[in-house]
Amino acid sequence: MSDVPLPNKLVRLQVIAWSFFLCLTLLIIVESWYLISLNSQSSKEFNQVDQQTQQVYRDVDHMLQQRQPLEQLSNQIINSAEHFNDEFQLLILDPDYSDAGVRVLQGELQQQADKLKTISTFIAPAISDSLKENLGVLLDITAELLETPSPNDRQQLYRDTSEPLLAIISAQTLLLNQFKIENQQLSQDVFRATEQSHRSMANYAQFTHRFELSVWGVSLFALVANSLILALLFYLFRRRLVKLSDYAEAIGQQQFAPAPFSSGDITGNLAKNLEKMGGHIHQLLDLSQQEAQRANDAHAEAEQLAFYDPLTGLENRRLFYKRLEHDLSVLERHSEDSLALFYLDLDDFKQINDTLGHKAGDEVLKSMADRLRLTLREEESLARLGGDEFAILFHGSQETCANLADRILRKMQVPLTIDGQVVRFSTSIGIAIAGEDGNTTSELMSHADLALYQAKALGRNNYQYYSPDLQQRAQTRVQLTHEIDNAISGEEFTLHYQPKVNLCDRRLAGLEALIRWKHPTRGMVFPGEFIALVEDTGQILPISNWLIEQACQQIQVLQHRGRAIPISINISAKHFYTGDLVNQIRRQLDTYQIDPKLLEIEITESLLMDNMQQAIQTLETIRSIGVRTSIDDFGTGFSSMAYLKQLPLDAMKVDREFVRHLPNGLKDVAITQTIIELAHRLNLPVIAEGVETEAQLKCLEQMGCEMVQGYLFSKPAPIAELNLGPTYTCFASSQSSTV
């Protein structure tokens, strides 16, 4: 078989089936051979049994012969018992009768007892015991009789033993008869058993012979029938396997159809399972297609989320950076066109959010995105980097760059109507040129950011190119930030105070505390050089706290000297809105135990405009603890009159810009006059800042201003250098009163 190549597994299966069948046939032959040998062995055993039966027969015959002495003995006992009974009766009846006969009988009985002992080995124990017992009773009665001389006693003995005597005779007779019957029965039984054994063995031999023939016949029939059945089964099985193979192949080609046949056998189950499997595969394919579609959708969505801004639909920072990296990598160094990075953000977007809400802010951002998209060509990349920051990659000359920046600025200035409300906004742009201003993404972004910062610093709503000095300025800012940190920890800050003078009596109305920085190398640095920076960096908070503490401490010192002089301090917007301002003021008031009315908080009008509602709430809280409040630089902002009347204020200060052009500047005169009149209508005293000339002072007096401060009376100075004396006189000076 091993030389024949097997075409497929089915053929192997057939070979295995035929091998199994041959083994089965071989097993039947072996079994038949075993039965034949068993028959032969049975014949031998039959002969052995026959011989054994004959032997048993002989043994029984021998045993019967051995029983003869027993029968004889039993006969003798019967005779002796009967004889004894006769003798006994005679002895009782006849007073002259001798007991010699009884004594002879006693001797005979004793002999019989002795003989019984010799043959008892051939007798069944029950019979032997019975004989012994009977003989014993006879011997006992005989002995007692001979020991009993009295006739009455002998009669009594006879009465009491006659029944046992008769019983012995009867028992012995019965035993004898039983012996005879048993012997006959035994002989007949042995004969019948032998006959039966012969007949049984003959029947068995006949049966085994017939069985042997039938086994051969059945084996032959089984061989032929099995061959035919197996051949038929293999044919059917192979045909079904072919169908199943075709069916499986069709399933493999995703051609789903019902099973080619159905039946209750294993092939039917296989077909059914294949059909189920095809159905499952069909479902799985559908599911996998759906899953693939979902995966594609999810991938697209993820990509959209990963690379595009969901609010505006523009590219996000990530994709923009990739694009920028790509463009930088393919940038042609000697091309006439350059690659420009525009970095934009909306001016005062926070204010839009705060005043109109985030929804409106989002609308503004979307509008800005639309406007920018319309402004640009398709090949230009536009991205929203986050918040109100946008970026553009523009390929063109420096001239076209400027044109684009102008177009953008103009486009952004077009008012936008949101929920019926007209919103105006502008944007600032920083521009960095690839190659000139940087070769890497981070360099270009950083430089464009600096240019944007510069545009913001220059009043917003403009665009600025990056230049190396911007970098220098940025570095200076970084250094300054570091130096401010050192100044805070090294106590380099100090306070100068500028008096506020009542115009009615020229007396001291109070002091304004102004911070100064005693720089170790640059000398005295004024707030204008670092306040904006510390507000950006957050350093304004520790500085502002320090300022409050210093003012309170100074008030305490003056109190101890007997002078209750109010001191005002300027609070930055950042500190004002942090929420910690009120607590800080409380702590310092408690620490230095001063009259709260001697402390005055000055806030700018622009600060109020950041969040008017919160400003009102905070000012009310500050006033509730007794601290005075005033609005600084009034007139520079766009305070709403509606809010102004709600502000809890104790004074209003006119900005020095209006005072500077008094009394000749007609507009400034009008504005200042208006402010003073407005303050008075609100029952607020007015303090004019930056008063440097007699004319300004005179003009302000005429307008009804209550208090002034400026170089005309005193420049800001350390408290020790100030004249806190009862009245002030004017100093004509040309020095600036910048604080």
Partner: protein, 285 residues
């Protein structure tokens, strides 16, 4: 068995002479009328009113003797019953009769030596009664045989019959009279179910086993005599009673005013042939 010679016969005849005269002058036992029925109560005061008679006893055999040399007797009748009160000395109370004892050598039971105490009253029925059975006289007598175990336990005395005959009798014992002639002694029990039966043992149960088994179905003439014997302080006290006339053919009939010959014998745990016996007595009713 005595030598049956002429000389001996002569000697016996000479010896019997005093006995013959004794029969003529025999001791009389008066049967008094009783005022009540004493039943079998030994302590009954009725006995106090009666005079007692001491009856001398002698051994029936030269090789046998005991200290019992007399018996005290009172007798009375009441209604149709006769009562006898007898009292005699006995050192021991013997209540076992012929028990079997185990013989280890023979590996069987053999008859033991113990015997019960007994008393026998005899009354002449016919013939010429003589207390000496081997006197040579023939007679039939009623015997009241009280046995301390085999009858007293049943409240009875064994009612028997004694026949002495010179002719051979079936089931009798052959004896020899004083004159050397053979005598046949027959002592059958009265009719009825016996008082006891004997039993044997083939295998060992105990060292001593009783031979006699009392029967609880005793009845008939053999049970006519009621008896109650008590041994106390070295003396037997015995009462026997019976109807004057039982109506049974094997019993003597007592008639008031008449005299009946009789005798008394006492067996002190002895065999039949060893006993103390009175002279022939007259019982005056």
């Amino acid at each position: 068995m005595r030598p049956n010679t002429s000389l001996s016969r002569l000697l016996i005849a000479l010896a019997l002479l005093p006995f013959i005269s004794a029969t003529v002058w025999a001791q009389t036992i008066q049967i008094h009328p009783l005022t009540g029925n004493p039943a079998l109560n030994i302590e009954s005061p009725l006995w106090n009113s009666l005079s007692s008679t001491s009856v001398p006893l002698k051994s029936n055999s030269a090789d046998y003797s005991t200290s019992i040399d007399q018996v005290l007797i009172k007798a009375g009748h009441f209604d149709n019953q006769v009562f006898f009160y007898l009292e005699w000395h006995d050192d021991t109370e013997d209540l076992t009769h012929k028990p079997y004892v185990w013989d280890n050598q023979q590996q069987r039971y053999i008859q033991g030596t113990k015997r019960e105490d007994r008393l026998a009253l005899q009354f002449e029925i016919s013939g010429e009664f003589d207390a000496d059975w081997i006197s040579g006289k023939e007679f039939i007598a009623d015997m009241w045989h009280w046995k301390s175990y085999r009858s007293n336990s049943l409240g009875l005395a064994h009612d028997k019959l004694t026949q002495i005959s010179k002719s051979s009798l079936l089931r009798s014992h052959r004896a020899t009279s004083r004159d050397g002639t053979p005598l046949y002694l027959l002592r059958p029990s009265d009719a009825g179910n016996p008082l006891y039966t004997s039993q044997r043992y083939r295998h060992y149960s105990a060292d001593e086993m009783p031979k006699y088994k009392l029967l609880d179905n005793a009845s008939g003439s053999v049970t006519d005599i009621k008896a109650n014997g008590i041994w106390k302080k070295g003396r037997w006290q015995l009462i026997m009673s019976r109807q004057l006339n039982t109506g049974h053919s094997d019993d003597v009939v007592f008639e008031l005013g008449k005299k009946v010959r009789g005798g008394i014998a006492i067996f002190d745990h002895s065999e039949n042939h060893q006993h103390m016996v009175s002279e022939t007595l007259n019982f005056q009713f």
